[in-house]
């Protein structure tokens, strides 16, 4: 009960501070937009090429946008040592992680939803017929990126070369999620759409494993 109420309060704080500054949302939205537009002109895709390359580019854009979003996640808690006041206030430190990863997933999904119509237009891929499955893949993929990314952001925020460390740790760990997400998306957006349930299952298992690890060991990641 305490975990749930603390998570809700902290999530409210994360959303309030972000919607007040719009720092992360603006950066990530602009970044994804630039990548999508740039590649749409660079490849000059026919419909077939778009279906083959588009989903991969979409997930690549999501990965880099996520790394931009995740970098300040714990770093800005260090400015006034607010991480310490949070640790003193909450009875279960997992609430801090849950709120941060919920906020990161929400921001990432929001950016993706804003970009999806543009992706459909620039790459000439109709996303509407498979939208519900596409949203499921985007949710599971983004949750995986946020869960692993939030944990690694907590680790890297305390390190000396923090700006370098997060992408270094993040990219290898997220490779399986991104590869599977891209494969599932390619199959979904194919002329003859198919649902890759194994891939969706893998994404769900990845999310559950990382969430459990965060719940078990998260407290140690926050220690000085």
């Amino acid at each position: 009960m305490s975990l749930f109420s603390n998570t809700t309060v902290l999530l409210g704080k994360e959303l309030r501070t972000e919607f007040r500054s719009r720092e992360l949302l603006t950066t990530t939205a602009v970044f994804i937009l630039v990548v999508l537009i740039m590649f749409s002109f660079a490849i000059s895709p026919t419909a077939e090429e778009s279906r083959a390359f588009g989903p991969g580019l979409l997930w690549l854009a999501i990965l880099f946008a996520a790394s931009l979003m995740l970098q300040p996640c714990f770093l800005r808690e260090q400015t006034n040592d607010t991480l310490s006041s949070l640790r003193l206030a909450v009875s279960d430190p997992f609430a801090i992680f849950l709120a941060k990863l919920a906020a990161n997933t929400f921001f990432l999904l929001l950016t993706e939803l804003l970009m999806l119509p543009l992706f459909a237009v620039f790459y000439n891929i109709p996303v509407w017929p498979q939208l519900h499955y596409l949203l499921l893949v985007l949710f599971l993929g983004s949750l995986g990126v946020s869960t692993a990314g939030t944990a690694l952001s907590a680790i890297s925020a305390q390190a000396r070369m923090r700006e370098l460390l997060l992408p270094l740790l993040l990219l290898p760990i997220l490779t399986p999620v991104l590869v599977v997400s891209a494969i599932v998306t390619v199959k979904l957006l194919d002329r003859d759409p198919a649902i890759e349930w194994k891939g969706i299952g893998f994404l769900a298992v990845f999310d559950i494993v990382f969430l459990t690890a965060l719940w078990l060991f998260g407290e140690y990641l926050l220690e000085e």
Partner: protein
């Protein structure tokens, strides 16, 4: 002084005091020892001033007492508490420990909610009045002066009515009126039986509240007024 001059006392808001005991505490950061075998017993209701040069281990000791830092060896306990894990000391650190992007009221309400304080909004409002920031409750903390920030930091530490208050150089950045308010508040808190442990640099009006002084040097307790050394000599050691 910025904001409204604080008037009333913070003391009646606190719970019964708890003492704390450090037993053979070591804290290492890599090869560096921040604390070496510190053994110190602080009784409930004592007001202890920690003195010592920069790097002597005062902040580390306070952070261990707040349980923000885990000791490398030794134990911390709260002898008067039914369960040590239930004791949640109030801690004021070097920084404000509140969010610049939130208003004073939002900050206090946030931490009051997290600590499951009864009637969090009312508690936040009452503390804002106590520390003289009620008129600025809707302003972002980033717009506050250093003195106002220190007052909101102290208000945050007192939200859950702690039985132990830990203060790391609490007078930093306060103007004379703010300083006078801090002295008055600490005096009231101490008189109400709250256990206070604070790190200080040199002797000032704040140190007059202290009932005991402990000097740290290179991570060890080297003088304690409880063992006969004069409180004045401990606090003025640095200046000498």
């Amino acid at each position: 002084m910025d904001g409204t001059a604080p008037k009333s006392s913070l003391a009646p808001l606190l719970l019964p005091a708890t003492g704390l005991r450090f037993e053979n505490i070591d804290k290492r950061y890599g090869r560096l020892f921040a604390l070496r075998g510190v053994t110190l017993e602080i009784s409930a209701g004592e007001c202890v001033a920690l003195a010592g040069r920069n790097g002597s281990g005062k902040t580390t000791l306070l952070r261990i007492a707040s349980r923000l830092v885990r000791p490398s060896a030794g134990t911390l306990s709260f002898p008067d508490a039914a369960a040590s894990s239930a004791v949640r000391p109030g801690y004021v650190g070097h920084t404000t420990m509140v969010y610049d992007e939130l208003t004073a009221e939002e900050n206090l309400a946030l931490f009051a909610h997290l600590q499951h304080v009864e009637q969090p909004a009312a508690r936040a409002e009452s503390l804002l009045r106590e520390v003289g920031l009620y008129d600025r409750r809707g302003s972002l903390v980033r717009t506050f002066s250093r003195g106002m920030r220190q007052r909101i930091a102290i208000a945050r530490a007192l939200l859950h009515r702690p039985s132990i208050l830990l203060l790391d150089e609490p007078a930093t950045g306060l103007d004379p009126l703010g300083f006078a308010w801090l002295v008055r508040s600490l005096r009231d808190l101490s008189a109400s039986g709250c256990t206070i442990v604070m790190s200080l640099h040199g002797e000032s009006e704040i140190s007059s509240i202290a009932t005991r002084a402990v000097r740290l040097d290179a991570g060890k307790v080297v003088e304690d007024s409880k063992s006969g050394a004069s409180l004045h000599s401990i606090l003025t050691f640095e200046a000498a």
